[in-house]
Amino acid sequence: MTTLESQAGRIPSPREITTEPRFSDKVFRGVVTAGGLSSLVILGLIAIFLGYQGFEILAKEGISFITTSEWVVEVDSFGAITNTTFGLAAMLVGTILCAIIAVVIAVPISVSAAIFLSFYAPNSLKKVLVSVIDLMAAFPSILFGFWGLFVLMPSAEYWAKLINKYLGFIPIFEVEPRIFTRSPFIAGVVLAIMIIPIVTSISREVFSQTPLDRIQAAYALGATRWNVIRTVALPYARGGIVGGSMLGLGRAMGETVAVYTVLNIVYQINWNVLFGAGGNVASLILLKFGEAQPYEIKALMAAGLVLFMLTLLVNFLADQVITRSGTKGR
């Protein structure tokens, strides 16, 4: 510093460094920027639309829109609306309950599948399994719903009875009266099957990115394959697995048709997951939309806005979880 100062007399302020991009670079930049912002714009437009449509209802019902469970539209003999009460509490509880059940069931299966595909499956089998799993993701949800209702329900009812018999002392597994069909549990199982593909393929992706030199280091120390997976691959992939699970949770919360087909929708908060009564915001919208009057449609829009907010909130929380746990194993 002293020599510089004596030579120049003063320390220069840092120069501003700029580059002038070429025209083609500017064009490309514009295109990808538009692509990047489009999702934000679309999301914003949907939120504005829902907010605009649902504002009247939200203002009228206030906080009771999400704290009460009644959904009543009374009409007189001329078809004019005389009284309305809109409350989403049962639907919100049901949405979260079904989604959590789905994630609890799907994540262990998906992570096992991803570990098998990444570390054990022979190449030929791996290719087949990966395309089958991808196909599963593209399967129409109404078919999952039908299958859940007609094929899965009898078995799932039996599992529910077993859980109730041995774990019934835990409050959420109580069933009274003893109705086991069309419960949040069964809807959760169907949702679990629907989100397995996405959680599996994201987990598989992060497993396949585990640095080879770390895997080799572990093997060279005399590790068994299970120990390599446990000490190297799982810590590395943990952030990605959490992220994939949260995407699955988001999908499970927004799923409409399959849940609508399987679940018995009841306007009463039900925490007993094995009991045949539940709710789901998206399914409510589907259930009511066909016969709703313009005023009730506004209420359904408000319900959509609430679901939208809930999904955003869950994704935000998920992001927090990922940033906290994601980098540690890397």
Partner: protein
């Protein structure tokens, strides 16, 4: 081939019980029995259809340092990876021949490969500490990975780090993460990690190629100290390094076809009076 002893295999077969009893009594790192070293017998290696290595027979007598030299692509890294069965991790990889550790073929069906890799440790070209673990956990990670019991972990930790020449630099921050060290320190951490499971043989695949001269010097000193208690095989591109650290040197060359071992001899002889013209061309810097 120069120091091949045809009786070695028979001798090894005759003494397993005494070896086992020695091994059972000494569990401190580096105080393990040296065994009778490692022998490669007619080793070939393939990657898919590509024949990468042809008919290499080489002895690594116990307690010596053997350097494998040769130009890039001559199969020396492939060869060293056949010595502890790391070669087979590459899809499509195949090998033929035998690798004998204390006279017993490590490729024999029914061999527990994790036990082989415990006895034949490896240090890689690029330092690869586990980033999620602290320095201390990295050194002891082999115990956890191989599910070994050790009652005195603190002592083992210090001993391994001292022997790897890293103790003085890290003793005050054993709980810092491995990634916080410099490249040379990370490589010595990897050596310490390999030592913690008490290997008989240590394979080093260009351990200094990513390091600065100062770190290289430290690791060479470490190699010399370690060679008193274990058998070391080191792949290096640096002929000065081979001359400095090794007792024996083997020259590999792939001349269009698969890699072959051209010549092996005591290191001083390889560099002063090589028998093969190609060896002379390489060590005098005429190619490679």
């Amino acid at each position: 081939m120069t120091f091949e002893n045809p009786d070695k295999k028979e001798k090894a077969m005759a003494t397993p019980s005494s070896l086992a009893s020695v091994a059972a009594n000494t569990r401190k790192p580096g105080t393990n029995t040296l065994g009778i070293g490692l022998e490669a017998r007619g080793v070939h290696a393939w990657f898919g259809k590509h024949h990468a290595l042809s008919n290499v027979s080489l002895d690594f007598p116990a307690g010596t340092v053997t350097a494998l030299i040769g130009p890039s692509g001559c199969g020396k890294s492939t060869f060293i990876r056949t010595l502890n069965r790391m070669h087979e991790f590459i899809p499509g990889a195949a090998m033929a021949g035998e690798v004998l550790l204390d006279g017993k073929d490590i490729y024999e069906p029914g061999t527990d490969v994790t036990k082989i890799r415990l006895k034949i440790g490896m240090v890689f070209q690029k330092p690869n500490p586990f980033p999620s673990m602290t320095i201390g956990e990295n050194v002891l990670s082999g115990l956890k990975l191989a599910q070994l019991k050790n009652s005195n972990k603190d002592e083992l930790l210090e001993e391994c780090l001292v022997r790897a020449g890293l103790w003085n630099e890290v003793k005050d921050r054993l709980n810092a993460h491995g990634g916080s060290l410099s490249g040379g320190q990370q490589q010595r951490l990897c050596i310490a990690r390999a030592l913690a499971v008490n290997p008989q043989v240590l394979l080093m695949d260009e351990p200094c190629s990513a390091l600065d001269p100062g770190s290289t010097l430290r690791i060479e000193e470490t190699i010399k100290e370690l060679s008193e208690t274990m058998t070391i095989v080191i792949v290096t591109h640096n002929m000065q390094q081979a001359a400095r650290v090794s007792d024996f040197t083997a020259f590999f060359l792939a001349d269009g076809g698969p890699g072959e071992m051209i010549e092996t001899a005591p290191t001083s002889q390889i560099f002063s009076q090589p028998r093969d013209q190609r060896t002379e061309n390489y060590v005098t810097g005429r190619f490679g």
